[in-house]
């Protein structure tokens, strides 16, 4: 059960400063738009927080594009719109200076081959709910989420998009309960991200063979291959201590979709 409210709070309130720039090719008219700065939550998704940005820049752009064709890129890399912003930041941000993260907003030429289009918010909501269900199946065989009512699912989504910690966690707390027969989840919902933005999902158990609670060291060993050795994890912008309990991590450091998104540092042997 997610007791540690302080940690939960700090995770929830994590924010990133982003500086949006307009695509120079798309600017119409003589006026150069200024850069638009915004503080966005790490746990949220790009299409949810960028309404104002779109509105700001749309004045300078030839407005004949449909709304859903907005996409962002960083240093030429198009950003996946269904990843949480914190994950994107940890994965892609190269320089570590004191500037906001510079992204470029595009209104046209949507790269259909790289990205999935999220025209409306409902699509993103469905994706979010499917992630939740997947996580719950891994944790509790899907019993908890299927026992919830539709309005509770809606409460989760609205808590996320409106930044309401208490509203979200009132329902999410039940998803973080350990299983009936054991003190932990059945499996830990976790995604291991590589440096090239692909991820790997493995079936991870919270307990070792001996029945003890697994810590990150064990996990490092588990996902290391003879070719590559895993040496450290990063999530939410911080490196995690290797003695952290996995069960605890899953309860407290998960993103709102109940997955742990860990960036793994590898060393080639």
């Amino acid at each position: 059960m997610a007791h540690d409210r302080e940690i939960l709070r700090m995770i929830w309130e994590g924010q990133i400063a982003i500086c949006f720039q307009a695509d120079p090719d798309e600017i119409v008219g003589l006026q150069q738009p200024e850069n638009f700065h915004l503080m966005v939550s790490r746990l949220s998704y790009l299409p949810l927080v960028t309404d104002k940005v779109k509105k700001f820049f749309s004045r300078f752009i030839a407005n004949d594009q449909p709304d859903g064709a907005v996409w962002f890129d960083y240093n030429g890399i198009p950003l996946k719109l269904h990843y949480p912003i914190g994950v994107l930041h940890d994965l892609l941000r190269v320089e570590d200076d004191n500037h906001p993260w510079s992204l470029t907003i595009h209104f046209s030429k949507f790269p259909e081959d790289c990205l999935v289009k999220f025209d409306t918010k409902d699509i993103l909501e469905s994706f979010f709910m499917s992630c939740l269900k997947e996580a719950d199946v891994l944790k509790h065989r899907g019993q908890v989420i299927s026992a919830m009512q539709k309005k509770e699912h809606n409460q989760l989504w609205s808590g996320l998009i409106n930044d309401k910690f208490d509203q979200f966690w009132a329902v999410n707390r039940r998803l973080m309960e350990p299983g009936a027969e054991q003190d932990t989840f059945k499996h830990i919902p976790i995604r291991f991200y590589d440096e090239d933005s692909t991820y790997m999902q493995k079936l991870i158990s919270p307990l070792t063979e001996t029945g003890q609670k697994k810590i990150l060291n064990d996990l490092l060993i588990e996902i290391s291959t003879p070719v590559r050795k895993a040496v450290g994890f990063r999530t939410h912008g911080i490196d995690i201590h290797c003695d952290t309990q996995l069960q605890w991590m899953s309860e407290h450091l998960s993103y709102p979709d109940n997955f742990l998104h860990l960036l793994v540092f590898y060393e080639n042997m």
Partner: protein, 396 residues
């Protein structure tokens, strides 16, 4: 295990805080401000645009007002006229307001004056009040003093009352003492009187013994004289014995039922005359000197010893007394300037007449041989004669 928990948790917390410090705090405020400013700018730009558009419209309307088509210019002129009317109305209102403003300021000045006057009055009243308070305080002080003096007087009064009662007690004590002393005095006086009476008795006894001796001697002489009847009878004077002498001149008369005695010796103050009938004698009692008494023994040869009658003849002293030669009448003269005639036939003397006319005390009275005239001598250097029958003064 618990310590390890805490360790990685603490390190986690610390790293989270560092991340926040690095990523959040530098940008948050600034980005917010920036966004606000951007909003303001867009808003202002929009307003600006609107206003410039309106401005352009007005300008074009104005510019085309004079040279444009009649309808347009009429409309413009009508608008202008309306505007001018509005302007006039506004100006009138303005002048009205100015006037009112002037009136209001005038009112303000008046009210200020009134307020000042009222304040003046208030000050005066306060002065009066202060005076009254001072007077009140003084009166209270006086009252206090009077009360204290009253207290003192009451105390004095109390002490006086106490003294009074003490004095009364002393007085009563002294009265008692006085009474006691008076009692003593009375007792002493009684004793004195007793002693004096005893003395008087003794003297009387001595007198009587002396008198007896004398009477014996007289008897012997008389016997001798009887044997020789040529010797003259001296007139005797006798005076009363000294008992019941007051020295105050009561004027008592004593009568004795013994023999009459008469003697005539020199140097005797009062004459005593033997009463007619030869049985009664009388004594005057102004002084207590003893007299030689000679016995006249026409009848029984005894000394008078008992008083037959006693009465007050005069208010003051009785100086003279005489028997009438013809009847049983007594004439007495005293210091009250009167000669009184008494009828002593019965047991008590009856006053028969009062003969006045003398201007000083009567010293001596006498009847003539017929008993019809009385002569009285007094201290006023004169002698008077009255008739007995009609009690009138005959000669002075």
């Amino acid at each position: 295990m618990a310590n390890d928990d805490q360790e990685w948790r603490l390190s986690l917390l610390q790293r989270l805080r560092e991340r926040n410090r690095r990523e959040v705090t530098p940008f948050k405020e600034i980005i917010l401000q920036n966004n606000r400013l951007l909003d303001n700018v867009t808003q202002l730009k929009a307003d600006n645009l609107k206003i410039s558009v309106e401005n352009e419209q007005l300008r074009t309307a104005f510019a085309t007002g004079g040279t444009g088509s009649g309808k347009d210019s009429n409309a413009a002129q009508i608008a202008i006229a309306a505007l001018e009317k509005k302007l006039l109305a506004q100006q009138e209102e303005l002048t009205d307001l100015h006037k009112r403003k002037g009136e209001n300021s005038q009112m303000i000045v008046d009210l200020n004056l009134k307020v000042e006057k009222q304040q003046q009055i208030i000050k005066e009243k306060e002065g009066c009040l202060a005076e009254q308070k001072a007077a009140n305080n003084m009166l209270k002080a006086e009252v206090q003093m009077l009360k204290s003096s009253l207290e003192e007087l009451k105390k004095l009064n109390n002490t006086l009352l106490d003294e009074h009662t003490a004095l009364q007690l002393a007085f009563s004590a002294l009265e008692d003492k006085l009474r006691g002393v008076q009692e003593e005095n009375r007792c002493l006086l009684e004793r004195l009187m007793r002693y004096k009476s005893k003395d008087a008795d003794k003297l009387n006894e001595e007198n009587e013994s002396f008198l007896r001796k004398r009477s014996d001697k007289l008897k012997r002489d008389l016997e001798d004289a009887v044997r020789e009847p040529n010797s003259t009878l001296p007139r005797l004077t006798r005076n009363s014995s000294s008992h019941s002498q007051h020295g105050l001149g009561d004027g008592d008369l004593y009568e004795n039922d013994n023999d009459r005695y008469s003697s005539d010796t020199g140097g005797i103050d009062h004459c005593i005359e033997a009463g007619c009938g030869g049985e009664l004698d009388m004594f005057t009692s102004p002084n207590s000197r003893l007299r030689d008494v000679l016995c006249h023994s026409t009848t029984k040869p005894e000394n008078p010893s008992t008083i037959f009658m006693k009465f007050d003849a005069h208010e003051n002293e009785s100086h003279a007394v005489r028997w009438s030669p013809i009847e049983r009448v007594l004439a007495t003269g005293g210091a009250d300037r009167k000669v009184k005639l008494w009828d002593v036939g019965k047991a008590s003397p009856e006053p028969r007449a009062v003969l006045s006319g003398s201007s000083a005390g009567i010293n001596s009275v006498d009847f003539d041989s017929t008993g019809s005239y009385i002569i009285g001598t007094s201290n006023d250097y004169g002698a008077r004669v009255w008739t007995v029958g009609d009690n009138r003064l005959r000669n002075a």
